[in-house]
Amino acid sequence: MKKFLNKPVNLVAELLEGFVLANADKLKLAGTNLVVRTNPKSKNKVALVTLGGSGHEPALSGFVGYGMLDISVPGEIFAAPGPPRVIEALRLANRPAGVLFVVLNHAGDVMTANIVMEMAKKEGLNVKQILTHEDISTGPRDNPDERRGLVGALPVIKVAGAAAEQRRSLDDCLAIATRMEANSATLAVAVSGATHPCTGEPIATFADDEMVVGMGQHGEAGTGSQKLASADKTAEIMLPMLLDDLKIKPGEQVLALLNGVGSTTLMELYLVLRRINQLLAEKKISLARSLVGQFLTVQEMGGFQMFIARMDPELLRLWDAPCNTPALTK
């Protein structure tokens, strides 16, 4: 893929400069390239902090703003930031109301998070951590360590962020985030690869008519290599796996989120959502809410992540609550 780039070593710093410029009403940089709100949240409210590699724009810094995150610590391309900048973020966010620290389950992120949580404890910071790991393709539900954190971080941040704006306690925010997380499941499908913007190396390769169900954010191989299917058929393959994992029963309400990872169009995602709605109706499951967009991308990779969550009235209320971030505004 041909990309408009400058020097690779400056890539993240430069993209952050443009990113905060494009969203100057919501965001600015603070400290060592930490993305923070232009208008900080009241110190009486729980703060939300996350970390993660760059190259997945608009994620994760695109979720900073009213109703969602307070600080995002962007790493290098596809690489977690190291502990120094993350502890800097936690110190900056620290407050009596407390800090909820959202970590997506990827080895590097978790390693950094563990180091930082030990430091935070030693320093007496008021921080609690929530780990998101809803990728059903990498491990069974009872082995959550193996499950990666994909786009499911978005709803977790959304509901916990809404709870924080409503001055709920840190324990409440954590409980809400945990409930959202526990009722979430994601499955990815990929049809074409991407190139690493620094090395120019291909991320994953595909046969001409191949699609891979379960492929990860960085081209980690999935188990489900199969022939490229129609939008309807793809929904028919993937949705039951998610419903099964969550053991969703007739009469329950779900949120469906379709996250395009790059060159798969919104057009295609709308077709998939349409079929999801039909399949859910057949099973008497209610599609209570849906969201379609490109939130957590993998450069120009083709494919998408299908996310389903069991919702309860409180989670729905928090999902609907106002937010104002570059990637999601309600």
């Binding site: 596809f78 977690a80 190291g82 690493h196 620094c198």
Partner: protein, 209 residues
Amino acid sequence: MPDRIDYNILVRMLHAAVQQVRDNHQNLSRLDSFGGDGDHGTTMLRAMELLSKTIDSSPKQLPQLLHDIGWAIMGVDGGAAGPLFGTFFMSMSEAAAGKDSLDIPTLATVFDSALAGVQKRTKAQVGDKTMIDALVPAVRALRDAPDLATALQNAAAAAQSGADSTKNFKARFGRAKNAGDKSIGSPDPGATSVALIFRGFYQGFHSHG
């Protein structure tokens, strides 16, 4: 050969380790490209350049230097390698607390601490095709050597054969674990970095005239 590693000798050892990575970073990235994401050489090079800068900026005091190096490498923002190698040096520093030079038993303790620190960060065991495969034998080899030169020579050799041994393994940790069998046949990049660093330590110590 000196029987203690003082600040100056440590700096020589560190510089030599930096040079090893400078000379071999492209190979490290190449090795990472089979199963991982191909960035290990870049990350290690950045880590080592930071190490080199830290030597210039840090107070000329042995445990402090190790601590500052560890913290600098932690901040390299390059994925798994930063926290792991950062922990390595920071844990060395903890065991070297209050010392301005290391004799052979202290050196063994310092590296034991480094290994223990890294192992606190990962569940990877010998055989899982990670840096652990080079680190464990290197640290073990340091323990019963008669003098510092032999200790560092043995450690370098053990790290190298540990790294070589990973060729036939299938990765079970890090990004490479998702690549299936693709990494079989080539050594683990992180283990190779460990071997380069220990080779540098030995060379740096040895070149001390």
